[in-house]
């Protein structure tokens, strides 16, 4: 066990050293000035983290004060279902390929060694748990602060702390269940050959209606602490005990895993790990490599239909999405963003929420809207075969995802009880917001200025969509948003056409 732990420790050290070297700190340099610089970095990071947390908490508190009193009750209702759906999705992901993955050196030196399989699998499980735990702790703390403003700032912070502690066993339990199911697939004879097995968790989705007490239990516990209903952390104890028992089972199941199977299912992961920190430095290169590696394992379904000119581009786009159904699912992020923007305008929600919405617009994975255009525009080698300007190419490539987002958003919108005029303006805005998302994504892939420089999607989206929604919120009407949105569309479209 110790050599594997030592190996993982050295790998973590290597990652830290890389980022420290980027800020000019050398961990091997014993010089007093270098050490003093290290101390300065630690103090600066602590100050920066505390400062950023205080600013974010203050901002979240302002949003929390503007939330209606029923918000906490809504969270109590929705949270258990959200946690359960999250668990089902995670199980699907862990069923697609081995939950325990090996990097290229691991395949050679860990998988190829006679070490007890329990050891690397258990260490791998905890490694996989770190990032989701940290993200969950941070996000749940902010939600707790927002929901508990009625308790005063100190009361809200105490609930945030309790929620942060309670979310860790819930995340551990969720990950342990997913890993157990994933490892069971690796161990059960013949299960790996069933390629559609990963869809099985869909069958679990009706369970909250059949046995709500059982499946919603972890979510209920978390929700009760999050809204300040439970002040005693002892309600989490059963979750902790079950999580520990499940982690022990992960270790036991890990001892039965065949490393040849794990290595076989780790090939894409291993090749992506070789890209290393380029993942953060050049995400587009990383994404391209990932889609290439993933495509290598796919068997193409259907055939390219017969069509000519722009119609061929639409046909190719349809085939690409059919062959990558996950990208179709990701379009739901765009639907959620459009719905969020519309709700803010239609119900005149607090103007401060625009910051949260714009942040979501900037970080949400909506790149699947321009998945096909990205392949066309990324490299001049393929672009040279396409004899049309960039705007027509973008619109043809993104026609299908845009139509789907508009259709789903329109259906959801028309289900809302709003006046006819609002409903009509909403439909126009759905089209505009979707088109803006596509144009911002598309523009970010092209050299726009005379310097042939790229402008990032985040900047374009915050400016373009911020102007549209801001006009609607500040001028108090959806019509203003429509006019502003149309102007932004014209500007972005002319930039893309000229690129």
């Amino acid at each position: 066990m110790l050599p594997v732990l030592w190996l993982r420790w050295k790998q973590i050290q290597g990652i830290f050293n890389y980022w420290l070297r980027l800020v000019d700190y050398d961990t091997k340099d014993q010089d007093i000035m270098n050490r003093a610089f290290g101390l300065y970095l630690v103090l600066f990071m602590a100050w920066w983290t505390a400062g950023m947390w205080a600013i974010a908490a203050g901002f979240i508190a302002q949003i929390g004060s503007a939330l209606p009193a029923a918000a906490a009750q809504d969270v109590l209702t929705v949270m258990p279902t959200l946690v359960f759906v999250g668990q089902a999705i995670l199980i699907m992901l862990k069923l697609r390929s081995s939950p325990y993955k090996l990097s290229s050196p691991d395949i050679a030196y860990v998988g190829g060694s006679p070490v007890q399989r329990t050891v690397p699998v258990t260490i791998g499980f905890f490694g996989d748990l770190v990032l989701p735990s940290v993200l969950s702790v941070v996000s749940i703390s902010f939600v707790a602060v927002a929901l508990n403003q009625r308790l005063g700032s100190m009361g809200a912070v105490m609930v945030a702390l309790r929620s942060a502690l309670a979310v860790i066993p819930v995340v551990a339990l969720t990950w342990a269940v997913a890993w157990l199911v994933g490892l069971a697939r690796m161990v059960a004879p013949g299960a790996r050959r069933r390629s559609a097995l990963w869809l099985a968790p869909v069958l679990l989705l009706p369970l909250p209606f059949v046995v709500p007490g059982v499946v919603a239990w972890p979510g209920n516990v978390l929700a009760s602490i999050l809204v300040g209903e439970s002040v005693d952390l002892s309600v989490v104890t059963p979750v902790v005990l079950v999580a520990v028992a499940l982690i022990a089972l992960v270790s036991v199941m890990g001892s039965r895993v065949n490393m040849i199977d794990v290595a076989d299912e780790s090939l894409i992961y291993a090749r992506l790990r070789e890209i290393g920190n380029l993942r953060w430095m050049a995400p587009s290169v990383y994404r391209r490599a990932r889609s290439q590696f993933q495509a290598a394992t796919h068997k193409p379904v259907l055939h390219l239909p017969e069509a000519e000119g722009l119609a061929m581009l639409v046909a190719r786009s349809a085939l690409t999405y059919i062959r990558n159904p996950i990208d179709l699912l990701k379009l739901l992020f765009a639907v959620a963003l459009v719905q969020g923007g519309l709700a803010m305008l239609a119900y005149q929600l607090p103007a401060l929420l625009i910051v949260v919405w714009l942040y979501a617009v900037a970080v949400a994975p909506t790149s699947s809207l321009t998945r096909v255009f990205s392949a066309d525009a990324d490299d001049p080698s393929l672009r040279q075969f396409l004899p049309m300007d960039s705007l027509r190419l973008l619109l043809a490539d993104a026609a299908l995802p845009m139509a789907l987002v508009i259709l789903v958003s329109a259906v959801l919108w028309l289900l809302q009880p709003v006046p006819v005029m609002t409903a009509l303006l909403g439909l126009v805005l759905i089209g505009l917001l979707t088109l803006l998302l596509v144009l911002c994504r598309g523009s970010s892939l092209l050299p726009l200025t005379s310097m042939r420089a790229h402008v990032s999607y985040g900047v374009l989206a915050v400016i373009g969509l911020g102007l549209t929604l801001g006009a609607g919120l500040l001028l108090g009407g959806m019509l203003a948003a429509v006019v502003a949105g149309a102007l932004v569309v014209v500007v972005l479209a002319s930039l893309v056409a000229a690129a």
Partner: protein, 251 residues
């Protein structure tokens, strides 16, 4: 007097402060097969990318059929295609679908027969239903060649085409390029190597971002006192000649 198919006038290109191309000028006429040769880092790939409009030249002008490619960037696309040394592909389209897509998006007439013929000649018929990710490096290059040859541009630019190909396929490609030349189409390719016993119409030798020698194989053999008119001997003679000239120029 008609303009040459391709004319470069004092083309320079810099990467930051590094001068990759230094006032390069030459013409390529229709029906010529020209080989661009030189050591690693001589500027061959940069030159091809500038001609194709993938890199914007820092100075000078590139004209295709008498028109600057920067003024008529889109209209000249059908007349000019560059196949890079590591061509990218659409991850989700098969080999056959790549050719169908390129042909139909460009509204090419009677493309099916030509596509099948190209696939057969480059040994890709059996891989028609495969995704590019499943192909070897050589096969990927052949697919890129098939795509370019299917569109059949006036000027075909190839970057290191013979490197990834086996000797049989390299000869096959040379025969195809020679046939194109016979139909009045031009080819400009960069290479360190060429199939045995073949001679292009012209060699352009580059060194340090400059074209240091330009001529037919026989003319260059005489001018450089090379052992033969093969690419290897001419390249060696060019480099020795350039190295002899450099100290003299510095002095």
């Amino acid at each position: 007097m008609t303009a040459p198919l391709l004319r470069l006038t004092d083309v320079s290109y810099t990467y930051g402060s590094y001068l990759a191309l230094n006032q390069v000028s030459f013409d390529v006429e229709a029906g010529q097969l020209v080989v661009l040769a030189g050591r690693n880092g001589a500027g061959k790939t940069t030159l091809l990318r500038c001609i194709a409009g993938w890199n914007q030249v820092t100075q000078g002008q590139v004209d295709l059929m008498g028109t600057s490619i920067y003024q008529a960037e889109r209209s000249m696309r059908r007349n000019l295609i560059l196949v890079p040394d590591t061509p990218p592909f659409y991850n989700d389209l098969t080999v056959g679908e790549h050719l169908q897509f390129i042909a139909q998006v460009n509204r090419l007439a009677n493309w099916r027969g030509t596509a099948q013929d190209l696939l057969k000649r480059f040994g890709l018929t059996a891989s028609q239903a495969a995704l590019p990710a499943a192909l070897s490096r050589g096969q990927r290059y052949k697919l890129a060649l098939c795509m370019a040859l299917l569109v059949d541009p006036q000027l075909l630019l190839l970057d290191e085409p013979f490197g990834p190909l086996d000797p049989f396929s390299a000869h096959q490609l040379w025969d195809d390029l020679w046939a194109r030349r016979g139909r009045g189409k031009a080819v400009l390719l960069s290479s360190h190597q060429s199939p045995l016993n073949v001679r292009p119409d012209r060699y352009l030798f580059m060194e340090g971002g400059d074209v240091v020698a330009d001529g037919t194989p026989d003319d260059l053999m005489d001018a450089l006192h090379a052992g033969s008119n093969s690419l290897d001997d001419l390249l060696r003679a060019t480099i020795e000649h350039a190295e002899r000239q450099a100290p003299a120029q510095e002095a």
